[in-house]
């Protein structure tokens, strides 16, 4: 407990620093756009309608989806930029997060700026014209000062929203306080989840209070409050950003970036790869919690240098193949096709499969007499199927349904951690499991056979970015991992991270893997 807390606190300065930088930049940008538009909208009813409707529409898009949408968009723009200007820009991490959060922060500022300016007493506005003010003077000397308290209230709301939503930038590869929450949820490290929530809520509260001080200063024309609030914000920003600047100055750019998707095994393997590179004296940055599709595109675009993926996933999702020519044929096909298509290098398989399989509790499977997917098809109409968040939209699910004619009573989606809980408690009868998951042995689950070979093989493979294809140092560090981890070892390492008591961190589990004889 104390270990996990201190481990969580060690990375707090970096995560908090990025969180603050991201939120402050998004808020500043949102203010720079929404304030003039809001003021213009106060004068023009049609513009007001359009602006508020657009901002309101943006607000209805779930913030995670908004963040996710910006990644492919930026990737496309970056591709265009490469063609037109000769060089692109990073489509992962800071930029998509910044743009999405900026859009998100705009509504309250826009709404309050428009309401604040059009809410100024018409008698005062007429007096401003009557004494001979120009439109500009009327805006700066009368309307803005009088609307300032309302505008500041909007900025406060925007700040709290932005700080909260910034935790969602983790899946598009931006370090933030959300790292605690996403990883913690995955590995059931509730200490980390709590630290992430507390830090982001605390940050929002402090910023809200300081902006409240400024709002009060503006409303009561009290320069002391104004300066106190402003100085508090400036100092806080400096203090939060200082560790990042310090790190950037002392280390420079990290030599390598290792990616990972959003589950325990990926964290462990990323730590394993990073550890080997660091042992060689290279500096390594980790970008974990990437969405499954994001990870491959980020690698192809050179934004991460290496990560582990699975042959079946690549076969179905990247090459769009629905057939299953067998384990070796899939690997060979991937090696040549990925190289040809994207320049991506596929290193030797790690030695285990993390296959999609349908799993049931042993007692339940035996009671129903289900051993294979073919047996399951007869019983499925009475059963509840639980899948992880992406399973039902994956081609593997479509292939299984088609091959066996599966039709369940209901389908439910879970975060993987909760999926196993649901199986144990009977809320789900069958779940989509991963063959390397430590919980299969620990929870005494059975994996259902696949006699028709509908599910492709899922050999874990290290992928290397096109620009690192000739990087001897990287290849020398990672190639020896080939065929070095069997499924038992991976299950054990995963379980060390996922279990409830005596939990290990992904780095410690990676240590376990690499220190095996």
């Amino acid at each position: 407990m104390a270990d996990r807390l201190s481990a969580a606190l060690t990375v707090l300065p970096e995560r908090l620093g990025w969180h603050v930088t991201l939120s402050a930049a998004a808020l500043a940008l949102g203010l720079a756009i929404a304030l003039p538009v809001g003021i213009a909208a106060a004068r023009n009813p049609r513009l007001k309608w359009i602006a508020l409707a657009t901002a309101g529409l943006v607000q209805t898009i779930p913030s995670l989806a908004l963040l996710a949408l910006f990644y492919p968009l930026l990737l496309l723009l970056s591709g265009l930029a490469v063609k037109v200007l000769g060089h692109g820009f990073p489509a992962l991490g800071f930029l998509p997060s910044l743009l999405a959060l900026t859009l998100y922060s705009m509504l309250p500022i826009l709404r309050n700026a428009a309401a604040g300016v059009s809410g100024v007493d018409p008698a005062v506005v007429e007096a401003a014209r009557g004494v001979g003010m120009t439109d500009r003077q009327r805006l700066w000397r009368v309307e803005l000062p009088l609307a300032a308290p309302v505008i500041m209230a909007g900025v406060r709301t925007a700040a709290v929203w932005t700080i909260g939503a910034a935790t969602l930038s983790t899946p598009v590869g931006q370090t933030s306080l959300g790292d605690y929450i996403f990883s913690g949820l995955q590995t059931e490290d509730w200490v980390a989840v709590l630290v992430g929530c507390a830090a982001s809520a605390g940050l929002a509260m402090v910023v809200d209070q300081l902006l409240g001080l400024i709002e009060g200063g503006v409303a009561r024309r009290d320069p002391r409050r104004l300066w106190a609030g402003g100085a508090g914000l400036a100092l806080g920003l400096l203090a939060a950003v200082a560790p990042l600047a310090g790190a950037a100055l002392s280390q420079g750019r990290p030599a390598y970036v290792i990616g990972a998707k959003n589950f325990s095994e990926q964290y462990i393997l990323a730590e394993l790869m990073a550890g080997r590179l660091e042992a060689e004296g290279a500096s390594v940055q980790r970008r974990v919690n990437l969405g499954s599709a994001v990870a491959y595109r980020a690698l192809a675009a050179g934004e991460i240098d290496a990560y582990v993926d699975y042959s079946g996933t690549l076969w179905a999702n990247v090459l769009n193949r629905q057939d299953n020519p067998g384990r070796q044929a899939v690997l060979d096909g991937l090696r040549t096709e990925l190289k040809r298509r994207d320049g991506v290098v596929l290193l030797a398989p790690l030695g285990f499969e993390n296959a999609y399989a349908l799993a049931m509790r042993r007692d339940r499977a035996e009671a129903l007499g289900v051993k294979t997917l073919a047996d399951l098809a007869a019983k499925a109409p009475d059963l509840v199927m639980g899948g992880d968040l992406e399973f039902f939209s994956r081609p593997e699910w479509a292939a299984v349904v088609k091959a066996y004619g599966l039709s369940f009573k209901t389908k439910r989606q879970f975060q993987p951690t909760f999926m196993y809980r649901a199986l144990a408690s009977g809320e789900a009868d069958v779940i989509s499991a991963f063959s390397s998951d430590g919980r299969i042995a620990a929870d005494d689950l059975v994996l259902l056979g696949d006699p028709k070979g509908a599910l492709p093989p899922y050999d874990a493979v290290i992928l290397v970015a096109p620009k690192r294809a000739g990087d001897r140092r990287l290849l020398a560090a990672l190639t020896p991992l080939g065929d070095s981890i069997d499924v038992k070892a991976m299950q054990a390492a995963n379980y060390a991270v996922d279990r409830d008591t005596g939990k290990k961190s992904p780095a410690e589990a990676a240590q376990l893997l690499s220190s095996r004889p």
């Binding site: 008698a123 005062v124 007096a127 009557g130 004494v131």
Partner: protein
């Protein structure tokens, strides 16, 4: 006679709806003119044409011989004092800043503005101590005195007033009206005042313009109007305060 303000067939309509029929009217320099009539008569529209707060849809308006349309509005208005019923003091500025706003816009030096503010506070009979206060700390009558001071700050030769005493209690109203008439004389102003109080208009003004339905029905000195007018609307309008005055006189005689 020099004309301070001339309306040359100036009219105003919104969406084809005429609120002021084409009107021709001359106001000589140094005169105190009252515009009277019921609500919707077009009084305020007529007044706003004079400082460009409203632009005529037909005809033209000349201020001191120059077509208003030829001058930028803000520059024109800095040279014309303007007072209106809602007063419209800037709530985020002190009394002194409110009074000094037009000189400030005209770029007067700080010291000169401060001296002018003191002078104006004396002129409108307010203690100098109110200079640093917020408008919200003043009574209604004091606020309108600040409104008058603000209108006079940049030494305009024309003062426009839109129902300036409408929101004040009767005692304050009479006192302030007398002070405004006194200032009109002392500063040699041309004053145009909109009011719905015909008695006030007859007592204060040199000339009264009677309006109804967007048209000018009469334009004459108070005495002539009291003597009778062919238009029954005008006669009716004048009759009411007159009867009231006669009854008051009877009452006083006992």
């Amino acid at each position: 006679m020099i004309e301070a303000i001339v309306l040359d067939a100036a009219g105003k309509s919104y969406d084809g709806q005429a609120v002021l029929a084409p009107t021709t009217l001359s106001i000589a320099k140094g005169r105190f003119v009252a515009l009277v009539g019921g609500s919707g008569a077009g009084k305020t529209t007529l007044l706003k044409l004079m400082n460009g707060l409203s632009t005529p849809t037909t005809g033209r308006v000349l201020v001191e011989g120059v077509d208003v349309a030829a001058r930028p509005g803000p520059e024109l208005r800095r040279g014309i004092g303007y007072v209106f019923q809602e007063i419209g003091l800037f709530p985020h500025m002190t009394v002194a800043q409110n009074i000094g706003i037009t000189p400030n816009l005209l770029g007067w030096p700080e010291g000169e503005i401060a001296a002018r503010v003191d002078e104006l506070l004396d002129l409108v009979a307010l203690p100098r101590a109110v200079a640093g206060r917020a408008p919200s700390e003043l009574s209604g009558g004091q606020r309108q005195r600040v409104g008058v001071a603000r209108a006079l700050a940049a030494r305009p030769s024309i003062l426009l007033m839109d129902e300036p005493f409408g929101a004040l209690d009767p005692v304050t109203r009479v006192a302030l009206a007398d002070d405004v008439r006194r200032l009109h004389e002392a500063l040699g102003l041309t004053t145009v005042m909109v009011t719905h109080d015909v008695g006030e208009a007859l007592l204060l003004a040199d000339e009264v313009v009677v309006m109804a339905g967007g048209k000018v029905l009469a334009h004459a000195p108070p005495r002539d109007l009291l003597a009778g007018h062919p238009d029954p609307v005008v006669t009716d309008l004048i009759a009411a305060p007159r009867r009231q005055a006669e009854r008051l006189a009877e009452l006083a005689r006992g």
